[in-house]
Amino acid sequence: MTEPAQLDPQLAPMTAPGGITLDVTAAEGLELKARSQWSYARRRFLRHRLAMFGLVGLVVIFGAGALASVVAPYSFDQIDLTNVLHPPTMVGHHVFGTDEIGRDSLSRIIYGIRTSEQVGLTVAVVSTLFGLMVGAISGYYRGWLDNVIMRVTDLILTLPVLVVLLTVAALLGRSSSVWTIVFILAGFYWTGIARIVRGTFLSLREKEYVEAAKAVGAGDLRIMFRHMLPNTLGPIVVTGTLAVADAIILEAFLSFLGFGIADPTPSLGKLVAEGQQFPQKWWITVIPGLVLVLIVICVNFVGDGLRDALDPQQRRVRA
């Protein structure tokens, strides 16, 4: 992200009417660093306490998931019939207890995080990139493509999210791999991002700087991606971040209802669902759900921090 350095107007060298440059800073020997818009944003983000809390939380949780095979004390399908439905204990090895065939809950949760993480991050990245491209093209060129895309998203919006997703998941078969679920969720999610990008592109294409770029002879692609895109990036980054949480929750919903990822791969939604058969064994339900809540809260904090940091009009956090 190399944006031309933008000097604070107050600190820019003043030019006196006579043409003599009065460089105040040079005269007083102060060291001044030219800060770009992005470095301001980064500083605002780093000072956002909740966002940093969320970021640390996410790094810990997702880190454990990514290193599941190293961190988890057992493998996710290791059966131990001598310790069936064991409650959480600090004495033994099963910190979060075991399930009905003695598999270690902590290990299964860590592997579940890995699944959720794969789904969340891939869906967010794929649908953001795809939505960005389609939204930019349809907002910039308008025309038939714009019409088709907007009508298709209209149709998807006539039904609640879960109904659409469940129907598609049922269509693609009951036992899905992680990538099938990613495909379904991304296939649904890009439409929302495309709509946002399209909306901003529609208004941006009328701006003077776009006209100026055209007058200078810049090509369409250059105008779109070099001039307009940086101005839409704020909301897109925020939506993309929140998409991670949305995708994780939606995957959990699908898995919970039995239309998600097939056995034996653990997923947080499926782990919660397993507890349904054992209402007296609270830990099977409560702990994986708690992890889900933590992930969503952390992602939301990071999203809030990014929103505050990337909105140039808002300088609540000192930069």
Binding site: L162, L166, L172, G289
Partner: protein, 323 residues
């Protein structure tokens, strides 16, 4: 206004047709309605199956099948299930009734509480009350519905098993065979699903109400009202609250329209014979035409409530004109 409504209704017809055709294509492609019969070749010979396929127009092309289905929807009230050969309407109308009861109760409670808490949080911004409820609604927002519902279920199952006190039932609609809609027994059954839905909607409404209140409180005409010496109570209730209520009316109308499709997860967990439960069970058994009937009812309710939300918005805010 009338022409606007008429135009919106006319416009929704092609939308509904397109939605129904696309869903029909997807759903019928996904499963073989005669699979169950086919699995039993002794009683169902190929000739019988062929005959059945012909009777139900399964041997026709997709547009033709869609046409037959569409006729059936209008002539026979959403048609009949291919799986059980029973009419769909009695099942789905009963389910709508149950869903309506739960959703109405939950929305009413959530709306009243959410608006009240939102108003108070905004007036006392950054107070202990505000912080408590802002964090609580943040939590409620992050909580997956199924987790909350299961925790409530676990809690009340444990209470019953430990102390043998039946506070709330954890599944079903009635203890007996039948029961009237508003009996104590029914209320004990629907309490937990209603609480679940209330918590989720309350988180949404209180957050939303607080945000719009703060928007309005900082506007110029509120400063004017204060400057001319109006008592704070009047400023808040006559000027701020009335304007802040406008967006939440539309939000709750949209929410209501979507929820009429049933709270799929909540109803499944509490085995409530509502719309969401209807959908999930039919989807699991590949009951193609019942799923289609459900999709149509939901699409119509979403479109209707979108229209209601837009009309209400124009009605409450005279600055908005429809021409």
């Amino acid at each position: 206004m009338l022409t606007y409504i008429a135009r919106r209704i006319l416009y929704s017809i092609p939308v509904l047709l397109a939605t129904s055709f696309l869903s029909f294509m997807f759903i019928t492609k996904s499963s073989d309605p005669l699979a169950n019969l086919r699995a039993n070749p002794r009683t169902n010979s190929p000739t019988v199956l062929k005959h059945l396929a012909h009777v139900y127009h399964l041997d026709q092309s997709l547009p033709v099948r869609y046409w037959y289905w569409l006729q059936d929807v209008f002539v026979h009230k959403l048609g009949q299930s291919l799986l059980t050969s029973q009419p769909i309407w009695p099942d789905i109308s009963r389910a709508i009734g149950h869903t309506l009861q739960i959703v109405l109760l939950a929305q009413l409670i959530a709306l009243v509480l959410g608006v009240a808490v939102g108003i108070y949080s905004a007036i006392r911004q950054y107070s202990a009350f505000d912080y408590t409820f802002t964090s609580l609604s943040f939590l409620g927002y992050a909580m997956p519905t199924f987790w909350l519902a299961l925790i409530l279920q676990i809690l009340f199952t444990d209470i019953y098993l430990k102390w043998h006190v039946r506070v709330f039932y954890t599944s079903g609609l009635n203890s007996g065979v039948t029961s009237s809609t508003w009996s104590l027994d029914r209320l004990q059954h629907i309490a937990l699903p209603v609480i679940t839905l209330t918590v989720v909607s309350f988180a949404l409404y209180s957050r939303f109400m607080r945000a719009t209140m703060l928007d309005v409180i900082n506007s110029d005409y509120v400063r004017t009202a204060r400057a001319k010496g109006l008592p704070e109570r009047l400023v808040i209730f006559r000027h701020v609250v009335r304007n802040a209520l406008i967006p939440i009316v539309t939000v709750s109308a949209l929410q209501f329209g979507a929820l009429l499709g049933g709270a799929i997860v909540t109803e499944t967990i509490f085995t409530l014979d509502g719309m969401g439960y209807f959908f999930i069970t039919r989807l699991q058994t590949n009951d193609v035409y019942s799923v289609m009937a459900y999709v149509m009812v939901v699409a119509i309710s979403v479109i209707t409530f979108n229209l209601i939300a837009d009309v209400l918005y124009g009605f409450l805010d005279p600055r908005i004109r429809y021409d």
